[in-house]
Amino acid sequence: MILIAVAAVVFFGARLVSNDYVFFAGYTVLQFVVLATAWNILGGYTGYVNFGSAAFFALGAYATVFLHKSYPLPIPLLIVIGGIVSGIVGLGMGYLTLRLRGAFFAIATLALAVVLQTLVVNWDYVGGSRGAYIIRPNEIEFIGPYIQYLFLVMLALAVLALTIARGIERSQLGYGFATIRDDELAAEASGVPTLRLKLIATTLSGALMGMAGAPFPYYIGYLQPSSAFGLEYAVNSIAMPMIGGTTSWVGPLIGAILLGSLQQIATVTISSVVNLLIVGLLLVAFVIIAPNGIVGLVQGWTRGRAK
């Protein structure tokens, strides 16, 4: 409820500025909020690392391109479809690799991005290596400029993702996930259905990433394999929760807003390569120095003061 209220304030606040750039930049930041939260449902809660965020994101985006070519649908429906496609792929990947050691899942997701990119490059119907154009309408009824509509859609998705993450944390599911993260063998021994829980997490996480990707072709207008599978999605969706803090839903949100805005500024003022370097260095520094992220630092600080 509070989240929805905050979201409404954000939207109308952005409208007051009435500058399209705010919506363009805001869309990207919100997209990262969704990706980071989705990554954290698997990575932060169960402790399984997904390096293939870009692959799930691109699956959603290419599902949209495919449908756009055959039968155009409204964006909310496309999001649902993108989510289903990515969720199924997440489930399949999890089923094949999660029965083994955790590292295999991580490696498989890393390779998944390369393979899906190969498939897309070889698949002419969705544009192949040349890419595909998506012509988006300029205006939309009731809301106004199309970019505002996209912004609103992504805002709703971000609220949805955060609500799901928060819900998981407070439910039995969340405790189940935490037992897997802390000691999977002990969890299994005391009757936690670990495989089923892990599969739920991969499916949910994959689906949310796909949903974040589904409106992307409309946002960018021209979708190339290299932009849909961009390494920045993979690295950001890991770096943001790691920097924000992985144990609660607030962490990825903080990380995404901080890093996302920083990158929006850095891309404009310096260069996009330098800004990726900053993200990479921050990731390495945080995992070494502050393993629990900003949330962990703040908690440690307040606890230290209380003593």
């Binding site: 083994l100 991580a106 370097l277």
Partner: protein, 305 residues
Amino acid sequence: MSASWQERGFGGKEVDLSFDLLINALIAGILLGGFYAAVTIGVSISFGILDIVNIAHPAFIILGSYIAYIVNARLGIDPIAISIIMLPVFYLLGAGIYQIYYESFERRGQEALRGLSFFFGLLFVTEVMLILVFGVDYRYVEAAYIGPSWRIGVVDLPLRMLVPCIAALVLFAALELYLSYTFIGRAIAAVAQDQLALRLMGASPIRIKRIAFGISIATAAVAGALLIIIQPVEPSVGREYIGRVFAICVLGGLGSLPGTVIGAMLLGIIESFTATFYGPSWAPAVAFGVLLLTLAFRPAGLLGR
């Protein structure tokens, strides 16, 4: 991108007979597989023996390629010779990284999530730094054996592939001898099995692991030089090797060096056939298929324990 060597592997000639095509694809696959063995052997040590999931290994290989490129372009030294000179540097780099890894993650029992993210960060930072310094242009080296090829009957043996394959097999033989016959080599094999027994023998497991990880990164110097002999290199080429390297590792059986070579040869042959009969752009997907099939049907690999 990675297609260039496969196309040139046949010398650009039209081969009519399907038997010729078959035998040449097989030979090309074996040569390619030998090179893959050099790329994988470091991961076979770090992931297979030490249980350190070093996904940044391909980034160090590309780093090795770029060092070979710089020295070769400036001084004209043979790339393989450069890589041998660079071995101690890469060894120290590896030992240093292991020290950080041990202090920050292994000792605290956090290798699963944060350790993996650490290596992912290293992979990413190395790639982006190379892009910043060298741009995304393809770089290549000069050496006498890069152009010509031997021809035995219908079989084409491009020296550009043959030399790396032989160098890789020499590297493999040296490592296998080292691991089987020296005290430290045997201790490295023991670290995977029983750390307590190793401690009782008077060897520190941490020191042994540091040495082993140093060796594993040192092999990246050689693999990088071989890579830039085989194909022109740009910073993101390494990503294509992540899937390959781990597919070979798992296919061969974790921790088994002979298994690694067999797995590498198999993958090389499968990729070569795929490239010949379906087109080179499909080759990157092959490794992933092999990885998933192995994980699904025989997770222990061919020569796995």
